[in-house]
């Protein structure tokens, strides 16, 4: 399976984070919440009209804005 971004992932799919494709602050903020390359995440849901994507990282649920989610590259197992 090739790489996708987080918005393309379907609900309940598991994936591995490949890359955070953004600036310093973007990478820092996501890593602080536990989203970093190599980590396993599970998508919970996305909202219509380019709404936020919610994911499960470890035991934490996070809401990520659509634009940010697009910059998170993942690989489905």
């Amino acid at each position: 399976m090739g790489s996708l971004n987080l918005t393309q992932l379907k609900a309940k799919q598991h994936a591995k984070v490949l890359e955070l494709d953004g600036g310093y602050a973007f990478v820092q903020r996501l890593e602080a919440l536990g989203v970093r390359p190599g980590i396993q995440i599970t998508k919970i849901s996305s909202h219509f009209w380019k709404g936020p994507v919610t994911v499960l990282v470890g035991k934490t649920k996070i809401a990520i804005g659509y634009g940010m989610a697009k910059k998170i590259k993942v690989m489905v197992k």
Binding site: L33, G34, T60, A63, Y66
Partner: protein, 574 residues
Amino acid sequence: MLSRESKILLIGNPNVGKSAIFSRLTGAKVTISNYPGTTVGLSQGYMKFRPDEMGIVIDVPGIYSLVPLSKADEVAVDMLKEGDVIINVVDATNLERNLFLTLELKEKKPLSIVALNMWDETRHKGIEIDVEKLERELGLTVVPVCGITGFGIKELREKLVNLKKTSKKVLTKDQKWEEIGRILELSQTLHHHHHTLLERFEDISTRPGTGLPIAVLVVYCSFMLIRLIAETLIENVFEPAFTNIWMPFLERISSLMGSEGFFHDVIIGRLINGNIDYGQSFGLLSTGLYVPLAAVLPYILSFYLILGILEDWGYLPRLATQVDNFMHRIGLHGYAIVPMILGLGCNVPGAMALRLLENRREKFIAATLMAVAVPCMAQIAMIVGLVGERGGRYVALIFGILFLIVVVKGVLMNTIMPGKSPEILWEIPPYRMPHPKAVIKKLWMRVTEFLKEAVPYVLLGVFIVNMLYVLNAFDFLARIFAPVLTGMWGLPKETISALMMGFLRKDVAVGMLAPLSLTTKQLVIACTILAIYFPCMATFVVMLRELGIKDMLKSALLMILTAVSVGALLNIFL
């Protein structure tokens, strides 16, 4: 190691329960809720650690790492320099992410202790932590605690006093994550566990298909409950108390004072058709007490009860994701709903929570919208009381107009102002059963705060009204503002007195409309304008601090412009 002057900092990720532990250690009263960002400022309290020795404990807003990414983070990181000892509060159900900050802190301060909070939740979640191994591998003292129930706090106190310096080893970011992996491998075992009812509900309220209807239902039920509880309290407790107990007492004093005269009118109020009228007499002991205690207090009680349950349950961050879409259209992101909801109680804490928002643009938009279209509960209670007499649909009309203003003004500001709304990136905490004791404690704290803040100012407001009437000061202002008041808004010029009072207390201001015998249309216009034209003094001061002079002036100009144009439009179209 601790001395009289020791500063003890409570540091940890957002929403790990620092404030609950702070409150346990110091006995100080602070707001504790289940959402990240409850604490926006520094709270300070004293803790006794030996019979006659005290230390200063500081509750620091939550941070994920020591690399500051926002102003709020900077404040927290700067505090580190001042602290002597750190209590690193860690969410035991989420060790991996939390330990990153722990390792960072260990590099900075040799004296720290780890409080493993939410210990009670680990068992249901199938998490088994070997505290001894964790202590050994981390090289720090670790104490399992539960801030809400108080479990482990005594041990935390004792171990805090005998803390030993730790060795430090500086690691790179990747090394830290590796080290965390190694530590958890040795000290934590995860068991499979069945989904609890709460967890299942968590899932359905996050999915958009079911989440949105649930959000609508939760908000609707909350408002219905707030109204039901408040009205029941008014009908069965507050009205009877004021009519059957307080009124005969006032009547006796009134006749003793001769039923008229300056002092009588200030203290008891003017008699309306020979009787004291709580709505119209405007004496200190009549209207001055009736407004805050009988009209507003029941709504404050029921609003904060329901809000407290929603907060502790963990619903607010979910609501934030559901409304994120809409909020982007008005230049904000979903989490901006949190200050708005707090603002419905009182705009002052609402304005303080503006700090949760990332940038200046967002803060500006949120502050302007809050000041214009989020009336506080005191004002809402008075509007419901006064306008409700003319029919519930007029109350609905006022709130409909306010909502329309939010949309139109938000979209306009979002279009005109350069830049765009930032993306939401927020942790969604698990649902937790609200702890009845904690809910009551928070309610009590907020209600006493209201009584301490509101009653003196309402009395002051009523006193000022009396003085200004005696001095005929309103006549002068009324003449100046007549072109706007009468010409554009179609209101009698006497309403200027209410608009003036609105700077001090909006509830008293709405109450001042009662004796003016306005038509329903005038009443709707006057109440709407009172809500939008300017925030009360207390809110203004906080907003000024959060926005700075320049932005506040711009925002104030927008408020006045909105009031003038909305008033004129309503006068034409209603």
